[in-house]
Structure formats: C-alpha cells, structure tokens
C-alpha cells in the first residue's frame, strides 16, 4: 500500500467515527421553558436547519402560542407537523407563523418537519 492510501484510509476511518459521534451523539438541541403569562404561555422557535429551542416545556391546560420564525428557504423545513394535535402548517420563509394549541394532558409530544427529518418535542408538565 502506498503512503497516500494509508493516509486516506486513516482519515476515512477517523471521519466515520466522527460522523457517528457527531450525529448519533446524545445532546441534540436546546430546551426552553415557555414564557408564562396569566392564562397563556408563549415560545419563540427559530427554524434554521432545525428547531431552536427544540425541546419546549409547556404547562398543562394553559393555551400555548408557538411562534415559528423560519430563517431559510430549503424545502426541508417548509412544513411543521404536530401529529398529536392534528396540526400541519406551512412555514413561509423569512416570516413568523403562529401555532396555537392547548396541551390537555401531560407527556411528551413530538413535532417534526413534513418529512420527519427535523424534530422537536413539547414536554407538557
């Protein structure tokens, strides 16, 4: 084996490990507790290659206002779906989209883009 081949092989193996660690690693996204007001709660979510924050803590029984700000045009994030709440909304690029829902029981409720690649979670407590 030539030197370049040995080098490329090692770089390749290192890349494989890096990719695995980076994408399959544990920590994903940030968590936030929704801003509480009397009789409502609110959270702003930036959509840019993912949801930020991607984990949102909500209080049960309080109407929640989720404001999605989408800062990109890729078709990957042009829809957001809350399957448990029966909500599917288009998110226009470079604009705000408000989603209103009232969590009626406690638990984890996932939300995702139209193709389920970008994911987030509502934790109702």
């Amino acid at each position: 084996m030539e030197t370049t081949q040995v080098v490329v092989t090692f770089i390749g193996i290192a890349l494989l490990v890096l990719i695995a660690m980076f994408f399959f690693g544990s920590s994903k996204g940030s968590a936030m507790v929704a801003q509480q007001y009397t009789g409502s709660q609110e959270q702003r979510i930036v959509v840019k290659g993912g949801y930020n924050p991607s984990v949102i803590h909500l209080k049960v029984g309080v109407p929640a206002k989720l404001i999605f700000e989408r800062h990109e045009t890729t078709s990957c994030s042009d829809q957001v779906v809350f399957p448990d709440f029966g909500i599917r909304k288009n998110l226009p690029a470079h604009a705000e989209t408000i989603i209103e829902l009232t969590p009626t029981h406690k638990g984890d409720f996932e939300f995702a883009c139209g193709m389920n690649m970008l994911r987030g979670k509502l934790i109702v407590e």
Partner: protein, 663 residues
C-alpha cells in the same frame, strides 16, 4: 439574491447549466481537442457553473450548514456534500492540472455533473411542491363551498351581508341555484337540496320547514327562507374541514418504521459514502483512483433519498382522507384509516343504523275495552320527554288519535329499557318486556300471543302498564334502509362477519336478521351489552367495527377497533367515533373498507418503492457491481434517479385520487 423564488432561481440557472453540460460533452470528442484545449474548456465550464452553484447550490449549502449546527443531517446535507466534493475536485483539477498529470493522476473535472445534480434536484423540488399542493386540495375544495355573502331579511328588506356578520336567528333568503351560506333551519317553503358535496349522496334531498339545511349545499328548486342555526367555526362545513385537517396531519402506525429509519438514514449514508471512497482509493491504480473514488462518493450521496421514505405514508393519508370526505366519509385520523382495512367483523345496531330510525306505530292492543283516549294522552305526555325514536313514534301515534294535553312531572328514562312517569292515576311504565317484568308487571296472556306474532313480523313491541297491571301493547315498525341489504351483501363478499346487536326482542331481531341474511344476532341487550358483544368478538381475534349512532352507542363505538357513527351528520366531531358518515347510507361502510384497503395498498407500494430504491441504488452507486458486471452509476444519473424517486412516490399517492368505489 437568494430571496427570489425557487422556480426563478431554477429557470435562470438552466441556460448556464445547459452550456456547462454541452461543453462537458464536447470534451469527450477527441477531434475537438485540436481546436480548443481541454484547459480552456475547463475554465469555460468553471465560469459557467458558478451562477448555477450560486443560485441553486447555496440554499443546499446554507441549509446543510444550519442543520449540521443542530447536529442533524438532512437530504440537503447529502446534496451539499456531494456537489461540493465534485466541484472542489474539479477546481483542483483545473488549477493544478499539470501538477496532477506529472503525479500520474488524470485531472478529470465534474462541472457538468455538479450542475446536472443541482438542476435535477431543484427541478425535483419544484415538481414536489406542485404535487404536494394538489394532494391536499380536498381542503381547498371544501373551503370554496362556503359563499362569502348571504342574503338576509332585515326589516322586510333583503340585504346582502358578509357571512362573517351573520348572527344566529338571522333569516336567510335562498334562491334556486344558490349555495346555502351556513347551517340553517327552513322556515318557509320546501326545497330540493343537493348535498353531494357534504354527504357524497348524488340524489337531491327534499327538505321541509323545520328541517336543517347544511351550509355549502345547493338549493335546486324553489326559493325558501331559513333561520341561521350555526355560524363561523360551528358550522358543519367548518367542523368537517377541521376533522379532515386533523386527520391529514395525524400519523398512521405504519409510518413508525419509516420514521425510525429516517432518523439515522442520512448519517448512515454519509458513512457508507466515506467507506466506499476509502475502499476504491485503496484498490484502484494511481492514475484513476482519485477521480473514480470521488465519482462513487458523489453518486452515493446523491442517489440516497430520505425524502421518498418521509413522503410515502403522509401523502397517501392526505389523499385518502380527502377522498373519503368527498364521499361523505369523515375519517378522524390516520390510525382509523389504517385500522379499517383490517376489519373482519362488524357489529350493527338496528334502530337508526340498518333501519331509517324513523319508526311508526303499526298495531295496538288494549287489555281493557274502555275509553283509551285518556290513557293514550298519558302515554304521549310521558314519551314527549324522551328523544328516543320509538318514544317519538308513540307520540305521533297519540297525536293522530287526537289526544288531550296532559302534564307530568316525575319522569325517569332508562336507556335501552323504557320510561316511568307519575300521574295522579298512578305510575305509568312504558318499555320492553324485560323492563316491565323487572318492575313486577306480568304481560296479559291473550295480548302476549298477539305480540309474539308481531315479533315474528319483525315489529318492535312496546308494552305499557299502570301500576302493576299490563294495560296495552304497541307494535312499532321501522323501514329498513333501501341500501342496507346491498351493503350487507357487499360486506359478506369482503369476508366480513356481520353481527346484529339490538335491544329489541329476540324474535323481532331474528326476523329482521333473516330478511337481511345476518346469521349472528344478539337481541334484548342493554347498550352495555353491546360492549360485551364487541369484547367477545375481539377475544376471538376479530378486528371489530361497530356501527351505530354517535350518542346512544358512544361506549360501544369507543370500544370497537373502528367506531363508525352513522346518521350523526349534525354532530360531525362526535368524539367516540373514528369514522363519521355524513350520509345515512350503509353502503358507506363497505366503501370505507375499500378506501382503507386502497390507501394501505398505496402506502405499501410507496414504502416498498422508497425502500427498494435506496436498497438497490446505494450499493449500485457504491460500485458493488463493478467487479461483477462492470456496471456503475454516473452521478448525473444518480441525481435524475433521486429526483424521480420522490416524485414517483407523490404521483403514486395522487393515483388514489382516481380511486372509485365499487358497488
């Protein structure tokens, strides 16, 4: 610059891409090399491909960068890395071509490949957006049913107002050919109404004063006035739209596998691509190793298509639920649509389900021969307090006899049994035989024989007693819906077991069951008894659907694997049911199963296609067939295949639109 729409970016890029590709082809003609040098062609392609990269490539790069920041890998990541690898390698080959040649490496460029990938994938996205829009146009169709204006009578004058300004009680004037703006109750005039858009029933329905007309339906005959019953979000149409929207965004259980795969799919593809690069780099001779390894890396990244997997289920669900809504079959969620194809047994309620639910008294027998007028008045007074169809049949019967108006205070209703009312003359009990028996009433022998004969005719028998003494019996008959027999035959042809569950007496139930060819009958049961019937069937391994009205049968509907509410067109959002039929046609039940089967078949085709595509495409791009058949995949072809894969899944789902119900 990036603010301009995806279609404009695409169209501006096309001429540059075409020129780049033409020059790329020109490089393959050796005789041209005497006129123009390879290096000139490379530079020309580099310059021409820059606008394409800028317009169609940057969005992928940006998106890939942002998602990487969130430790997420998407389709954009694959496209971005694939095209960047091809482009960067080409620039290196252009800038340092003599150096590479001295080192014995062929300075191959991939400008044409880079632009082909970007153009084809962007075109794929454009087509995908269009196909996705047309998959969800059932909602748009429903939204367009509601007129924006209504003609209202105000102070004996007719004025046009916006539907948003309508208030409950406003009097609408509806002319022939017009759409009814909101749900209303007819005040004056009879009307032929076309309800096809709501119920899927193509025959017009005749409505009389006091009947409800649904907003969005069309008046076919003569003008009439109607009082507004529901406005805004409460109208039937808006409720339907909400149900359909909810259903379309819910998840079918079958989607779980695709979801699980899509979460690790892209990183896995990245790893396969790196591994393939290394393997090819290690096995190939020095002159071609870089170029060939790059080609395999790019092909793998480009052909992998997580989108087809993500689109397979939701698109079919959206089309399937929309198709159902058009036929008056409102499916509440994707899980119900999936569950309906597995139905092996159906429990049918009798009154209001297989019959029209509009019974009338056809026979009567009194124990004594004295004046019945006062007694019938008492029955009417008691039964007026009940909503039950049989109670209303007795009230109508009494009214035909010309009763006097009486009042009663203490009335108690037992669901599935009967009614007890107190009068100065004593306690009046009305109900089925078991109900009276439980209250210590013995049925008169003579009349008992008559009522047994009535049962044998399929009539429902109602007994009455004053105190502990049996006083009279009535035969109530309900017309079997015209389509019931056909629907049951169709269901049997689909190998579905039919079970009749009714509170009626065994003989009556048996007679009706025999008429309809139903072999399993559970008669004389309480509403809770229906639950045990369903549980027993489920214990036998049957996948059970319950068909009943949304109110009395709510527990049974909820217990069944698929609860189908019939004739509750006014209560669209009925929580207990998984499926609400907007029409009263039992044929909608085999149709629901047909639709579910067709949708599931479509989803399975989509999933199969999406899986097989990746399972075959990725190894092919990695070059596993090179040692065997010498077969490999050009990255440009990979881009075309990847663009086609999502679209073919979408187009297959759209095929469901042309699905037509049999029978």
């Amino acid at each position: 610059m990036l603010d301009i729409s995806i279609s404009r970016r695409f169209w501006i890029s096309v001429p540059f891409a075409v020129l780049t590709i033409v020059l790329g082809m020109a490089m393959l003609i050796p005789s041209l090399h005497h006129i123009v040098s390879m290096q000139t062609l490379n530079w020309a392609q580099l310059i021409l491909s820059i606008p394409v990269l800028w317009l169609t490539g940057t969005p992928f790069l940006l998106s890939a960068w942002h998602s990487t920041m969130n430790r997420i890998a998407t389709m954009d990541t694959l496209v971005a890395i694939g095209t960047s690898a091809a482009f960067v390698f080409s620039i290196v080959a252009t800038l340092f071509s003599s150096l590479l040649m001295e080192a014995g490496i062929e300075p191959h460029t991939y400008y044409d490949t880079t632009v082909t990938i970007l153009i084809l994938i962007t075109l794929g996205q454009l087509l995908e957006i269009r196909a996705r829009e047309s998959s969800s146009n059932a909602i748009t169709g429903l939204l367009s049913l509601q007129p924006s204006n209504a003609r209202v009578k105000r102070d004996s004058e007719e004025v046009d107002v916006s539907v948003d300004d309508l208030a409950i009680g406003d009097v609408l004037v509806i002319r022939p050919g017009e759409r009814i703006p909101v749900d209303a109750t007819i005040q004056n005039g009879d009307a032929e109404i076309n309800e096809a858009m709501i119920t899927g029933e193509s025959m017009p329905v005749t409505k009389h004063p006091g009947d409800m007309v649904i907003g969005g339906t069309t008046n076919l005959s003569s003008p009439f006035t109607a009082a507004v019953l529901r406005t805004g979000e409460d109208t039937t149409l808006q409720q339907i739209i909400r149900v359909v929207e909810r259903a379309q965004s819910s998840k079918a259980p079958i989607q779980k596998l695709a979801d699980a795969i899509s979460s690790w799919f892209v990183p896995a593809v990245l790893m396969i691509a790196v591994a393939a690069f290394v393997v090819w780099f290690d096995v190939l001779p020095a002159d071609v190793r870089v170029a060939t390894s790059v080609m395999h890396l790019v092909s793998i990244l480009i052909i992998a298509c997580p989108c087809a997997l993500g689109l397979a289920t939701p698109t079919a669900i959206v089309v399937g639920t929309g198709k159902g809504a058009e036929a008056g079959i409102l499916i509440k969620n994707a899980a119900a649509l999936e569950s309906a194809h597995k139905i092996t047994a159906i429990v049918l309620d009798k009154t209001g389900t297989i019959t029209e639910g509009n019974p009338s008294v056809v026979e009567h027998a009194f124990v004594t021969s004295e004046d019945h007028q006062h007694y019938v008045s008492m029955i009417a007074a008691a039964e007026r307090r009940s909503e039950h169809p049989i109670a209303q049949a007795l009230v109508r019967y009494a009214e035909n006899q010309g009763v006097t108006s009486l009042s009663t205070e203490a009335v108690s209703v037992t669901v599935g049994g009967g009614i007890v009312a107190e009068f100065p003359e004593g306690v009046l009990t009305i109900g089925n035989e078991r109900f009276l028996h439980n209250r210590g009433v013995t049925i008169n022998d003579e009349i008992g024989k008559t009522t047994t004969a009535w049962n044998a005719l399929g009539y429902t028998v109602v007994h009455t007693a004053l105190g502990n003494v049996h006083t009279a019996s009535f035969a109530v008959s309900d017309t079997i819906r015209s389509t019931t027999a056909t629907a049951i035959r169709q269901l049997k042809n689909m190998n579905v077991k039919i079970v009749l569950a009714t509170g009626d007496n065994a003989l009556t139930a048996k007679t009706i069951a025999t008429q309809l060819g139903i072999s399993e009958v559970h008669a004389g049961i309480h509403p809770e008894g229906k639950l045990s019937v369903i549980e027993a069937l489920q214990a036998q391994g049957e996948h059970v659907a319950m068909v009943g009205d949304g109110i009395n049968d709510a527990p049974a509907l909820a217990k069944a694997d698929v609860g189908i509410a019939i004739g509750s067109g006014t209560d669209v959002a009925s929580e207990a049911a998984d499926v609400t039929l907007m029409n009263n046609d039992l044929l909608s039940i085999p149709r629901t199963i047909q639709l579910s089967r067709a949708t599931m078949r479509n989803i399975k085709q989509n999933l199969f296609f999406a899986f097989i595509y990746n399972v075959l495409g990725i190894p092919l791009a990695a070059g596993v067939l090179v040692p065997v058949l010498g077969l490999t995949l050009n990255p440009g072809f990979a881009a075309a295949a990847m663009g086609l894969s999502s679209i073919s899944v979408l187009l297959n789902a759209l095929r469901l639109k042309s699905f037509s119900f049999k029978g």
